[in-house]
Amino acid sequence: MFFNVNITKSLSDNLKMGESTIQQMILEAQKHAIDTIKLEPNERSLKIELLIKKYINLDFMSKATTGSFWKKASETQKEKYKVALLKQIVLTIEEHLNTLATLSYKPTKSERRGEKLIYVRGLIEDPNKKKPDINLLWKLAANKNGSFLILDLEIEGISLVSSQKAEAVSILRKNRGNFDILLSKMSRDN
């Protein structure tokens, strides 16, 4: 009985931690959007990069988006891929940061999935009701220090990890797992 109460408590604690991680990140992102508007583009990117690094599990995302090819990559290629992936995320966030500042985020539901994962659902709303609501789903897991990091984000059901994986794996397959070709294609669009 006591054991059961403890499990329920730790489960609700984890959910709360997951939710507050997302809330905190959104608040920081909105603050960033206002604070960094007058900065030089490079400085702004650097600030956003620091913010993202704090909240996402880049190691996991890199593995998840390259599938079985990850094991075949050299350490240098792995590091380069992480940098390129981070750069892509920064670019995407940068483009939407100004819009985010004018919209509001409302958490809706969170749930525990399996042994390690937590789903945090929320809505991006336009206070003027001129734009339709956007459904978001954040997938998180605790790292070794016990803090929660983002593994994937689904916007209206479209998973960013799945899309990136489809793209990276397609290039790797066509080039017999050659990471350098993938990296050159990624750096070309950066």
């Binding site: 390690k116 001129k130 489809a166 793209e167």
Partner: protein, 246 residues
């Protein structure tokens, strides 16, 4: 419709069904099932060229010159014109709630020819088309296709789109049919203006064709299969994620 045209139309729909039949019958086909990839990639290049040279500049001018209120009215009207398809297909899918809500909204907004949303977005209607009806009848989605000037589709959705167009042509009088022909380019420009940032971002990615395919299939499956599909997809992804976290 002339006899010759009717015959060609029936033949085309039959060919699409055969294409569907040739595909394996799994309902949630893998994202990589793209047997026509080589042709699709060429069509994608053509569509991208047309988009960048013609559609995108027009759409940018449209956003710049036309006031937001008028654009919103045009967008509302185009959605309203498409509502009969939702009504018919919701009924065919025995989704009575959606049929009634869509019918009520269609009649209400009909007072302004759909240019103004009189219930101010209060009634949420799920968009239904013949592609989703075919999915409900367990027709497999079939191979992925990149259709010239139309964009990404599966064979099932292309069949659905053609039948939806056919439905509208049968339902409407000649004058409305002419009007809807004029609306096709406006519809394209309206949609392009809403997707401006997303499309420009896609073109910059390492493999834009795969990104479009991935976005389209994920989005379309979410629309059609809703809760059931999402749960199935998430269970698979959860297992994969947990393994990677070990």
């Amino acid at each position: 419709m002339t006899k010759k045209y009717k015959f060609l139309f029936v033949k085309f729909i039959a060919a699409l069904f055969i294409l569907n039949g040739c595909s394996n019958s799994t309902k949630f086909a893998s994202e990589n099932r793209d047997p026509f990839e080589k042709i699709n990639r060429n069509v994608f290049q053509f569509n991208k060229y047309v988009d960048q040279k013609i559609i995108s500049p027009i759409s940018k001018t449209y956003v710049k010159k036309v006031p937001a209120k008028i654009r919103s009215g045009v967008s509302n009207h185009l959605q309203w014109m498409d509502t009969p398809n939702t009504i018919i297909n919701s009924a065919l899918q025995t989704d009575m709630e959606n049929t009634i809500l869509a019918s009520a909204k269609f009649l209400l907004n009909g007072l302004t020819l759909g240019f103004y949303d009189l219930d101010k977005g209060e009634t949420v209607i799920k968009k239904r088309d013949f592609g989703s009806t075919l999915a409900r009848l367990n027709v497999s989605e079939g191979p992925f296709l990149m259709v010239p000037l139309i964009g990404p589709k599966t064979t099932r959705d292309l069949t659905g789109t053609i039948l939806d167009r056919q439905n509208m042509a049968t339902l409407s009088s000649n004058s409305i049919d002419d009007l809807s022909l004029a609306e096709v380019p406006i519809n394209i420009i309206d949609k392009r203006s809403k997707m401006s940032k997303t499309l420009d971002n896609i073109y910059l990615s390492a493999d834009p064709y795969v990104k479009v395919r991935s976005f389209y299939l994920q989005n379309r499956r979410n629309e059609i299969y809703s809760e059931k599909y999402i749960e199935n997809k998430n269970n698979n992804l959860d297992a994969e994620f947990e393994k990677l976290l070990d």
